[in-house]
């Protein structure tokens, strides 16, 4: 209790300030970046280059809570045995790890669409790659501004 009394008004203001500064630096110490995401994509598809289009990547522009950010992906495809979406991969370039998720679809899916909720530790880009049955790759990306990070500090 004596310790509490010893804390002056000035100290009381200074302490949270240090904490806040530490929080701002902490995410910068260890997180993925665009190069890490590229490396992950290269692991999957080597030098194959994706083209834009066919993917509808639905994420909020601003996420108030980085712990729960909805993401909905829909890839345009007839979903037949010959022409369907095989896989979708999502990456984040500002999280501690670049991977977010992978989906595998089949013609029985009927529609190459799925939603989840993800964690984002800070404002960053979401990159989505779709692989078609014919081998074509498509990509899309979006930036999400995060007001409260979701990494549990």
């Amino acid at each position: 209790m004596a310790l509490h009394k010893a804390v002056t008004r000035r100290d009381a203001f200074a302490l949270p300030a240090i904490g806040a500064a530490a929080l701002m630096i902490a995410p910068r110490l260890a997180h993925a970046d665009a190069a890490a995401v590229e490396a992950e994509i290269r692991k999957l598809y080597a030098d194959r280059k994706p083209t834009d289009g066919r993917i509808k990547l639905d994420v909020p522009q601003i996420a108030e809570n980085g712990l729960v950010v909805p993401i909905n992906i829909e890839v345009e495809s007839p979903m037949t045995a010959q022409d369907h979406v095989k896989a979708v991969h999502v990456f984040a370039d500002g999280n501690p790890l670049p991977g977010v998720l992978s989906f595998r679809f089949t013609p029985e899916s009927g529609k190459a669409a799925a939603s989840v909720r993800m964690r984002l530790s800070q404002t960053q880009n979401i990159i989505c790659i779709a692989e078609m049955a014919g081998g074509a790759l498509h990509s899309a990306s979006a930036n999400v501004k995060v007001t409260i990070g979701g990494c549990g500090g």
Partner: protein
């Protein structure tokens, strides 16, 4: 903190042949990312559900791989093209080796 994960699923009971139906699933799980530290500064080991599969009459039609960036109590929605009556089996695979399952019936007519 950790209670046994309980899956919850929402699947229409009936569908017309050829109809594309939406399936929504949710499972209670803390999805410990392996990035957090406890009060002593020690990293809390990762424990997440890393895999989800959806099968109809034994045939897998949708799969998801989840990384630690997936939120706690993971929600997953996806679609299925109804062709015949049968049963869905949904399975969630935990890092600790556990598999949580849920089933649902679909009548096509």
């Amino acid at each position: 903190m950790s209670t046994k994960p309980t899956p919850r699923i929402r699947v229409p009971g009936n569908a017309k042949a050829g109809e594309i139906i939406e399936i929504k699933t949710l499972i209670s799980h803390e999805m410990e990312s392996g990035q957090r530290k406890d009060q002593a500064g020690k990293t809390i080991p990762r424990k997440i559900i890393h895999g989800f599969t959806a099968a109809f009459n034994g045939k897998v039609f949708f799969e998801a791989t989840w990384h630690p960036a997936i939120s706690a109590n993971p929600y997953q929605s996806f679609f299925f093209k109804a062709q015949e009556s049968g049963e869905f089996t949904f399975a969630w695979k935990d890092d600790d080796g556990s598999v949580y399952e849920a089933k649902a019936k679909l009548a096509v007519g």
